[in-house]
């Protein structure tokens, strides 16, 4: 009989041992999104996830990386083979060079390039995590396509470490484009840019100007710039600190409370100077289902007590 692969990475085993099977605990990543979901209770034991790249397989377009590794360090290695992942490093607006792979996955927020690169959850193929009973478990699988069993990875992405402590991840990599640049379109309507700039992987709008990150074949980017007059090679704007979640088509109907804002066109995230006064409501039945998930996975609330996922 064939047996599942044995996890023999000593760094991962040590991480699991440190988390153990009892007592409150939390994993600290780069600490760059510590405000999300509220501050954890004080005096909780802090553990750091292991670091390092376990295996990069450029021909498979996958990489296995320990959760404590920074995305920037990961991308530096992938760049040697002209690849990267959809996770944000310090080079995109809103990204930080200190963000770790595990922290980015646990928070589950995609960078402004989500329009073209997809949601970061779609880049996660497999996770090893420590469950509340201290066991080291596998979610997903190592291949680029897989529907074996329930999709546990999706549940862990964005779970803020409340369901399990992520030890390592196998991520899908993608080729770096032949050419990429930011361009600014001073008086363009954001929808015009969305419908015309076919190589755009990010489109940002501050209420008057539009910025787009254009990626792909150099000739295709050139064609976009012929179709749309732009000021070339303008750096993207900084993002205000708070995040609002809207439907893409509602970005034209933002209330006055935003202060300065940068909206992600085609996606619906709005970066604002103030917190969202009216976040989309969560129905009681959905909130109850979310609570049930957390209770079953972590019956004693060991993981990140005090923090909550969404406004639940």
């Amino acid at each position: 009989m064939i047996a599942p692969p044995v996890i023999d990475d000593t760094a991962l085993l040590a991480f699991a041992a440190e988390i153990g099977s009892a007592g409150p605990v939390m994993v600290r990543g780069g600490g760059t999104q510590w405000d999300v979901g509220g501050a954890p209770d004080s005096d909780i034991r802090e553990v750091s996830a292991p670091t390092g790249i376990v295996e990069f397989r450029p021909d498979e377009m996958t990489v296995c990386v320990r959760a404590g590794t920074t995305v920037a360090a990961l991308h530096a290695v992938l760049a040697e083979h002209g690849q990267r992942t959809a996770l944000p490093d310090g080079s995109v607006p809103g990204g930080s060079p200190a963000s770790t792979v595990g922290g980015t996955i646990a928070v589950g927020r995609s960078p402004v390039t989500r329009l073209g690169d997809g949601h970061i959850r779609d880049a996660v193929l497999q996770l090893h995590y420590v469950a509340a009973d201290g066991q080291l478990v596998t979610a997903g699988g190592p291949t680029v396509k897989n529907v074996t069993g329930f999709d546990m990875c999706r549940v862990l992405v964005g779970s803020l470490g409340t369901l399990g402590c992520i030890g390592d991840a196998i991520l899908r990599t993608r080729p770096r484009p032949e050419h990429e640049q930011w361009a600014k379109f001073a008086d363009a309507e954001p929808e015009t840019v969305l419908n015309t700039a076919k190589t755009a992987t990010a489109i940002l709008w501050d209420g008057s100007s539009v910025w787009a990150r254009l990626c792909g074949h150099r000739v295709d980017v050139e064609d976009d710039l012929v179709r749309l007059p732009a000021s070339y090679e303008v750096p993207p704007p900084d993002l205000p600190p708070f995040r609002w979640s809207r439907r893409p088509k509602d970005l034209h109907r933002l209330p006055n409370e935003t202060g300065r804002f940068i909206a992600e066109i085609g996606v619906g995230v709005v970066h604002c100077e103030r917190p969202d006064p009216n976040p989309p409501p969560v129905p009681a039945s959905v909130a109850a289902l979310n609570r049930r998930v957390r209770e079953l996975f972590d019956p004693n609330r060991r993981f990140n007590p005090g923090r909550s996922v969404g406004q639940l």
Binding site: R121, V147, F150
Partner: protein, 492 residues
């Protein structure tokens, strides 16, 4: 094993006495409930080899409220419930275990709303995959997941199985195209998971639901992403003298930094079957052919086409680029009729589905040939090479004594070979009953327990589609009728 026993579906009488049927009729109306033998027989199997299922009453709801009412009746009578789409699943996902009330979505087949601006459509679960694409074609949009069964399979089934298709290489499988799902839970409550806003609150329960094989709830409305049609598309047919050259070409194309829209491979035996059937113009002499499609913007596509052709020639391939839409359609017709072509050769077929690392394609294909030859079977290979998703297809005649056992044994060996090189049990057809008892090959007991927790969060009584995916030690057998009918997996 292909078991044709029908121990429970042996007549309608048993169910007329069923008080549950009377209640279903009261809740839905007479024309939406069928408890006769013919209806139950039709619902007793899907397109898989598993034919040991027995359906209870079959309901045809046309609204969320109907589905809620069915769930409430089921709860009162402690009955299992099984959602069913077109029944084209290949892993026994829609095969009824435990005498369930079957909820057929065939009447929930409306596209409810198309939002052109945000490129989203709300559809009922029974909408046929290709019908949605046809409906939004005038808007220059399509639904990207394109299973080879897209003319018959439903979007509800696609969501439940997280289905893929040739073009999922570049565009991603179903999960990446589902924004929100309205789900009726086993309590009868309807919840919307996910949402149309950028970052819905809470855990990604939408993502958890996609691929849950009918075991978490019944999808009653689905918001899917619509994808703009590419400005330019080019399709290439590359033929090779050896399977190894074809596989090496796939590796080089992927490694070159290209992400083709599709990379499909067919072996010599498949090419012969297809040519006999539809005359797609594939070269019969080749050991393997690749169908590669690149899409995007005009000038980039031209460059990519040239690059793929160059890589193919460097590996000794002969390259043909479809000159026009007609030729392109013919090349795809060959690929899409491959299963039908093989089905003409023998009355039964078993279509396998595993994924291996792309670099192991040659090694595993050679092992597949060795295995099927050893069991004196015929197999053709037609598969999604770009993501290492193998589909060995064994054609046979189940009336031949002992052949079912040989197919089962060969299938199991192919699984073992795939896992041994770092592959997985299923790339797109799901686990169902077919591979349920092999889950322990890939996952530890602790891994499976975590999956069982997720299922119990949605359905604490395991009322929905019991007996699937999780081996019995990890599934709750609360449903009395399920524990009473001991069911073996397909391969015993």
């Amino acid at each position: 094993m292909k078991l044709r026993r029908r121990t429970r579906a042996d007549g309608a009488g048993q169910h007329h006495a069923d008080p549950c049927v009377a209640e279903l009729i009261r809740a839905l109306g007479e024309d939406r409930v069928r408890a006769d033998g013919a209806a139950r027989h039709l619902a007793s199997a899907d397109a898989s080899m598993f034919s040991d299922g027995a359906a209870g009453p079959v309901c045809f709801p046309d609204s969320t409220e109907h589905v809620q009412a069915i769930m409430q009746v089921a709860a009162r009578h402690d009955r299992a419930v099984l959602p069913r789409g077109a029944g084209s699943g290949l892993s026994g996902g829609a095969a009824p275990l435990g005498d369930p009330i079957v909820v057929s979505t065939t009447r929930m087949n409306r596209v409810l709303e198309v939002d052109e601006q945000d490129r989203v459509a709300w559809v009922q679960p029974g909408v046929i995959n290709l019908d949605l694409t046809k409906q939004v074609t005038p808007l220059g949009l399509h639904f990207a997941p394109d299973p080879s069964s897209q003319q018959v399979c439903t979007i509800g089934g696609n969501v439940a199985n997280n289905s893929g298709g040739p073009h999922c290489l570049a565009y991603g499988v179903t999960s990446a195209h589902v924004l929100a799902v309205e789900v009726v839970l086993s309590t009868g409550e309807a919840v919307v998971l996910g949402g149309l806003e950028a970052e819905p609150s809470g855990y990604d329960l939408r993502g958890a639901f996609v691929g849950s094989e009918g075991m978490f709830g019944i999808a009653t409305k689905i918001a899917v992403r619509l994808t703009p049609n590419p400005e330019s598309v080019r399709t290439l047919l590359l033929s090779f003298d050896t399977v190894a050259d074809a596989a090496a070409t796939v590796g080089s194309v992927i490694a070159s930094g290209l992400v083709p829209a599709a990379v499909e491979m067919m072996d010599k035996r498949c090419v012969a079957a297809v040519e006999d059937f539809v005359h797609a113009g594939y070269p019969r002499g080749a050991a393997a052919v690749l169908l590669i499609e690149v899409d995007g913007l005009q000038r980039g596509v031209e460059a990519d086409t040239e690059k793929v052709a160059e890589i193919g020639r460097a590996h000794g391939g002969t390259v043909r680029v479809a000159a026009d839409e007609q030729e392109r359609a013919l090349l795809w017709k060959g690929r899409k009729s491959a299963f039908g072509a093989v089905a003409r050769v023998a009355p039964d077929y078993y279509l396998h589905d595993t994924v291996v690392p792309r670099s192991k394609l040659v090694e595993v294909l050679e092992a597949v040939y060795e295995i099927v030859d050893r069991y004196d079977l015929t197999a053709v290979n037609v598969f999604h090479a770009g993501d290492g998703n193998l589909h060995p297809l064994m054609a046979y005649d189940s009336r031949e004594p002992g052949v079912n056992e040989r197919v089962a044994a060969a299938g199991r060996e192919i699984l073992e070979v795939s896992l041994a090189v770092g592959g997985v049990l299923s790339g797109e057809h799901g686990i169902g009953v077919e591979k349920r008892d092999f889950m322990e090959y890939q996952f530890t007991s602790a891994d499976l327990e975590q999956q069982a927790l997720l299922r119990r969060s949605f359905d604490p009584h395991c009322r929905l589609n019991p007996g699937k995916v999780l081996p019995s030690a990890h599934s709750c057998a609360d449903i009395a009728s399920l524990s009473a009918s001991k069911v073996n997996g397909v391969w015993g």
